[in-house]
Symmetry: C2
Subunit: 190 residues, 2 copies
DNA sequence: GGAGTCTGTTAATGATGATTAACATCCGAG
DNA sequence: CTCGGATGTTAATCATCATTAACAGACTCC
């Protein structure tokens, strides 16, 4: 019982993500989360210091993954073709959103329930990710003021993150294609 | 004390909308809502049969307003220019989103907390509103399959409804302009 | 072969919170 | 006037929940 135990934390985080996505942080009890992974209630305290800490770790992980991915893709090869960098960012985000709809949903909705300190860290990561996009976009639209680029970036995130809401309507492939097409168009004329 | 009383219900709905938008349905107590309008706690039961009923009425009202607006704008004058109808729908939705960010947020997030029966009614209204858009879009893109048009509509809503998240970055005027530009572009090539 | 760490379990404990009861006020109608 | 309805108030009631206690099996390392 050593190997399976290693996965417990991750297992809990995953189950909790699904539950939070479906019913919201306050709509899910510790007992619910425990049940979802086959243990009951207070067992979670062996892995996390509390419910908020669990959420904090979850959001930190998501934000960190997005930021890391952003930093990696934005600097992709050709520094002259900002166009290519934008495409890479787009594809990366879409892939993430389609693969982890629950995480996207929680990331979008539950920041307010994270304790102050962690919230600051998460916000910082989110800001860095946005800045990655803004940097690329400012190369494509040098005349566009930064505030507008930032707002445009948030708007595109809203578009891309709509996935969890229109789930099932379209096959993942078709959905990815649609989102890429729409986002590219939306960002082409700023 | 007759005239001011007439407003009580609306006053409560408004205060509750702001609170739900900020902290989520489960994150707000009846006591909180009462305090926000200057009465305390159980007084709300003189106006609503319960917390869920309050939310249900709120979402029904929002969905109804959007649907009504959609039905009105989509049929606007020129039936030949689907282009104009789309612009009208866009401007209407943007105006609503910028004017009532809290309502948009609640409408987007809290449907799951509404009791079954009301939820069905709300979903029906939402569906009608979406179909209004799909009808217009199908005229502009006759070759595009309906499922794709529906997904595109949801995606554009995601874009337009990003307002509450990027609040303050831009002046309302500039924001409306940006959203209109991006949405038009996103919907131009499906 | 036993001490210690890891993970769990099932009972408290203590808050918070929705809803209801019992009891005032105020105001317009008759 | 005074009766009734509309609105409120405060004090129960009853659940639900996060968190902590107390206790137990299992596996590791010595």
């Amino acid at each position: 019982m050593k190997t399976p135990t290693r996965n417990r934390r991750a297992e809990i985080l995953e189950a909790a993500a699904d539950l939070f996505a479906a019913r919201g942080f306050h709509g899910v009890s510790i007992e619910d989360i425990g049940a979802a992974v086959g243990v009951s209630g207070p067992a979670l305290y062996r892995h996390f210091s509390g419910k908020e800490a669990l959420l904090a770790e979850m959001l930190l992980d998501i934000s960190e993954r997005l930021r890391e991915q952003g930093a990696r893709l934005a600097t992709t090869a050709d520094p002259d073709t900002a166009e290519a960098a934008l495409d890479a960012l787009l594809s990366g985000h879409i892939e993430f959103a389609l693969t982890h709809p629950a995480l996207i949903r929680v990331h979008e909705r539950e920041l307010d329930n994270v304790p102050e300190q962690a919230r600051r860290a998460i916000r910082r990561l989110q800001r860095l990710y946005v800045e990655e996009w803004v940097t690329v976009l400012s190369e494509l639209h040098p005349a566009c003021p930064p505030a507008r680029l930032r707002a445009a970036t948030h708007a595109v995130f809203g578009l891309l993150n709509s996935t969890p809401r229109s789930a099932g309507e379209l096959a993942p492939e078709a959905m990815a294609d649609l989102l890429r097409t729409m986002a590219r168009a939306a960002l082409s004329r700023l």
